[in-house]
Symmetry: C2
Subunit: 312 residues, 2 copies
């Protein structure tokens, strides 16, 4: 988490912009001439670049959700990789939200996301349902190539309770907490690396949804060496006040994601786009995204300052 933490420090901003384009999140003019999936993928790329250009100096990271690109087929997946490369070239930490997970030999193939210089990700998200042998290949690749992974623990969606809140021990520990313990173990295996242990956080982070502030605070206490990726702020209902408990006492240890709230910020004034050219629309998209990213930074850092005051 060294690179991520340095980027957070440099920007004073523990938030990440989700690059999850959909047709509804693009001004209509950008899709007007998109007759094929390839054309649409190019429109997504132009949209992403406009967002990246607008926020690169004020956020530490972007998180492209590969599902949005897979929805366009192979051409979309190619634009996912190009988006990542463009973001990295602007100095951003790229967190690929791919949520992969499989048996050991297959997980080793997926771990190429971190080892082969073609996807341009600094970290990826992974799914723990298959247990350690589905995770270890990612940890090994992260270790070798100085990258990170974030394992799903407690996700932000309403039905996350169906599996993740099930009690799995006599003491009432939930499945998400059990996974939290495994994540600490998986991270421990990697913390021998000086580049990881020097930060206090291992290379193995956790995904913990902003929509569950109580679970977040509990997992924070259970997982002192685990950096949290926190989706669900904004559009999904998570608030800055609820987020303080996801951070450690020094105000570190968490990265808050917003996707629609940033990349769709332009929709607050859709009428302004009525007669714009493509390039003017992209500029307006970027301006609105930047304003929203600045507002989010203020929202989060204010909540963190107030928490520090309270505990002082």
């Amino acid at each position: 988490m060294r690179k991520l933490r340095e980027a957070i420090r440099a920007t004073g901003n523990p938030s990440v912009v989700g690059l999850d384009p959909t047709d509804a999140l693009l001004p209509a003019v950008l899709l007007r001439d998109a007759g094929s999936l390839e054309d649409k993928a190019e429109a997504y790329y132009a949209f992403n670049c406009a967002i990246i250009d607008a926020v690169a100096d004020i956020v530490p990271a972007v998180k492209p959700q590969i599902a949005m690109y897979e929805a366009l087929g192979p051409a979309g997946v190619a634009v996912y990789a190009r988006t990542n490369a463009y973001a990295q070239a602007q100095g951003l930490y790229v967190l690929g939200d791919i949520k992969r997970g499989d048996i050991g030999s297959t997980a080793a193939a997926y771990a190429a996301h971190l080892s082969v210089d073609v996807w341009h990700e600094d970290a990826v998200t992974v799914n723990p349902y298959l247990g350690s042998d589905g995770i270890t290949p990612f940890v090994d690749a992260a270790e070798e190539y100085d990258k990170d992974i974030f394992v799903l623990a407690k996700t932000s969606n309403p039905s996350s309770s169906e599996l993740q809140d099930l009690p799995v021990s006599d003491g009432g520990m939930t499945l998400a907490e059990h996974v939290g313990g495994l994540i600490e173990q998986w991270g421990g295996a990697s913390s021998s690396s000086s580049s990881s242990s020097s930060t206090g956080y291992s290379r193995v982070g956790a995904v913990v949804g902003a929509t569950h502030p109580e679970a977040g605070a509990q997992l924070r206490a259970l997982m002192p060496h685990t950096f949290f990726l926190v989706p669900g702020y904004g559009a999904q209902g998570g608030t800055a006040a609820g987020l303080a408990g996801f951070f450690d006492s020094a105000g570190s240890g968490a990265l808050i994601n917003s996707s629609r709230g940033i990349i769709g910020a332009w929709r607050a004034r859709p009428e302004a786009f009525d007669s714009l050219s493509t390039s003017a629309a992209l500029e307006m998209v970027g301006t609105a995204a930047r304003e929203a990213a600045v507002a989010m930074r203020e929202d989060i850092t204010t909540a963190l300052r107030e928490r520090t005051k309270e505990s002082a």
Copy 2:
């Protein structure tokens, strides 16, 4: 599962060939001139087509594992889609082993695998860790486009026990069994469709590893409307004798996967490839795959006949 069951009936063969190419599974001559990831992806494609041509009349289905293609970057993913298209054109049911899973809005984007005619899959595998709202978009797409999904219940890998065998109820029900119950529910929501209910199995199948024969038989009893995809036969240690319990009393309800055992069958005589041309090597790969697929069909159908005799 209508199309799959018809294909199984037509071939008399409840098995599926895993198209999971890796460098080690290709004869060296096929990769000799592969200087780039694009070249390698083309070699994988030629390899896959040789396998498909050799087995198309004796197996009902193929199961490409997308991880093996993602390992080559976007060029590999494009070959995944082309492989699927080629297999469908030869009349095969294509089961895309993608194990996707995410929150509702993202799962809806992933469900494009079933709804957009670009990935050429008849079914996909999905991961249940996020609960119903991560599954429902796939069920809806399967319903609308007459396709199927297979949800991970009990996977074939050794560490599947870490989460999937945890007791989640006072009665000692495991997480995998709990997921089994959810799968029956998710399938029930789709069984209103006549094309599904007429088969007795819903569109929502389950992944249950061949390496766990006891768990397989227990899940079979718990999940009467759920078709099983059974990985782990052969290279991972599952045997035909252990497989009978994954089928229903009529000898239906399961599809057994073999990957390395079929596509890597040529490796039994590596010296035969020493001076072969690319086309001769591909032909030998196909011949060995066909022999292995025939042997697997015999192995499984014999075990099923013996089970029927025992119960008679």
